[in-house]
Amino acid sequence: MINKIVPTMADAVAGAKDGMTVLLGGFGSVGQPNALVQGLIDMDVRDLTVVANNAGGGHVGLALLMELGRVRKIICSFPRSSTSTVFEELYRAGKIELEIVPQGTMAERMRAAGAGVGAFYTPTGVGTKMAEGKEERSFNGRRMILETALRGDIALVEAWQADRWGNLTFRSAGRNFNPVMAMAADLTIVQTQHIVELGELNPEHIVTAGIFVDRVVHVPYGDPAL
């Protein structure tokens, strides 16, 4: 019997190692796999590269991971927010490396990794700082730059429902980067609000199929803060 559901957080994050690249789902306060990040914190892995849309807020999840000095580099589209003080202090002090990627290019680079595309040409960023050092070429008269696939060693994902095969649904805007990152890592770990029986999810409504998921841990934390 396939059973990707693991009983403890330690089981969920087992195998995380220093120096890994971690894809971190979530956008704003919604769909953030904060319990899994706490699991990484408790494992004391260091020197991480984190790919996430934002650079964390307050003193939880990614912000706490950074505050504890575990993150060497962050790849994101929008590090600034009203509560991103942890990141900003580290950045100003030169204690964290930052790679800014346009949000759509970031999503597409991970989707490419998940879909076996090595690199692709996109018009986003042509003629801007983002194009520096990148190859440019025209297709159908449109200038484009070459962007490479962005793969993670680990993806941390938050889901709404999961079954023992690892099939997932998401809730509302909690979907965001989660299904994309689930495709793009060697090891995809999911925290889910609800565990459901196999067969309970309608096969037409599954958003991320279990083929992209390695482990599921039950974290029924409720709603994100308003």
Binding site: S77, Q103, A107, P123, T128, K129, A173, G174, R175, A225
Partner: protein, 213 residues
């Protein structure tokens, strides 16, 4: 001569959005454009974080903690709305499926170049978000912004000084003084606040203004 206030600017943009368009509104003033599109004129608002078909802002008590827009504000979903993941959401943007994107900007050049994401080459933690994808991907890019900076420097310019977001992307600019199309000749005055002369406006503008033939 009274410049348009932010509400009037947003209303002026909204007036030009026809029913049936798929529209992404940038963070800040562009977001308020939606408040000026009557609900019975069906415009489908898109948000980068995978929300298509956003409706009006909810009352505080009715907020859904799971439903936010790209500006991290709580929103609602209209009948007919849909949720998608980030790669699909940006496929909508980058694949040319949005009829319109409205962004704010630091500067717009007369060839349509836009600078709206960083104010210097060495900005502390610059943040681009989806601006470059939107500027390069939408069928039309409109900008809504003050005509000048707080200290009076023009924001419509011959050439952008700030780091660029996209090349030759802007089609139209709405400011507190008027509406300007980006044409092959440069900025074309489409609308103007009551009582303002072209000479006055030209003095506040960093590129030559053209008048309709």
């Amino acid at each position: 001569m009274t410049p348009w206030n932010r509400q009037q600017m947003a209303a002026r943009v909204a007036q030009d959005i026809p029913e049936g368009w798929y529209v992404n509104l940038g963070i800040g003033m562009p977001t308020t454009v939606a408040d000026h599109v009557p609900l019975d004129r069906e415009v489908v608002f898109h948000s980068e974080n995978g929300v298509l078909g956003m409706g009006p802002k909810p009352a505080d008590a009715d907020r859904d903690p799971w439903l936010i827009n790209a500006g991290k504000q709580h929103v609602t979903l209209r009948k007919g709305g849909a949720f998608v993941h980030h790669a699909d959401s940006f496929a909508m943007i980058r694949g040319g499926h949005l009829d319109l994107c409205v962004l704010g900007a630091f500067e717009v050049a007369e060839n349509g170049d836009i600078a709206n994401w960083a104010t210097s080459e060495n900005d502390t933690a610059p943040a681009v978000g989806g601006a470059m994808d939107l500027a390069a991907g939408a069928k039309r890019l409109w900008v809504v912004m003050d005509h000048t900076t707080k200290d009076g420097r023009p924001k419509l310019v011959e050439k952008c000084g700030y780091p660029l977001t996209a090349l030759a992307a802007v089609k139209r600019v709405y400011t507190n003084y008027g509406v300007f199309d980006v044409t092959e000749r440069g900025f074309l005055v489409v609308d103007l606040i009551a009582g303002m002369s072209i000479a006055e406006l030209q003095a506040k503008t960093g590129a030559k203004l053209h008048l309709p033939a």
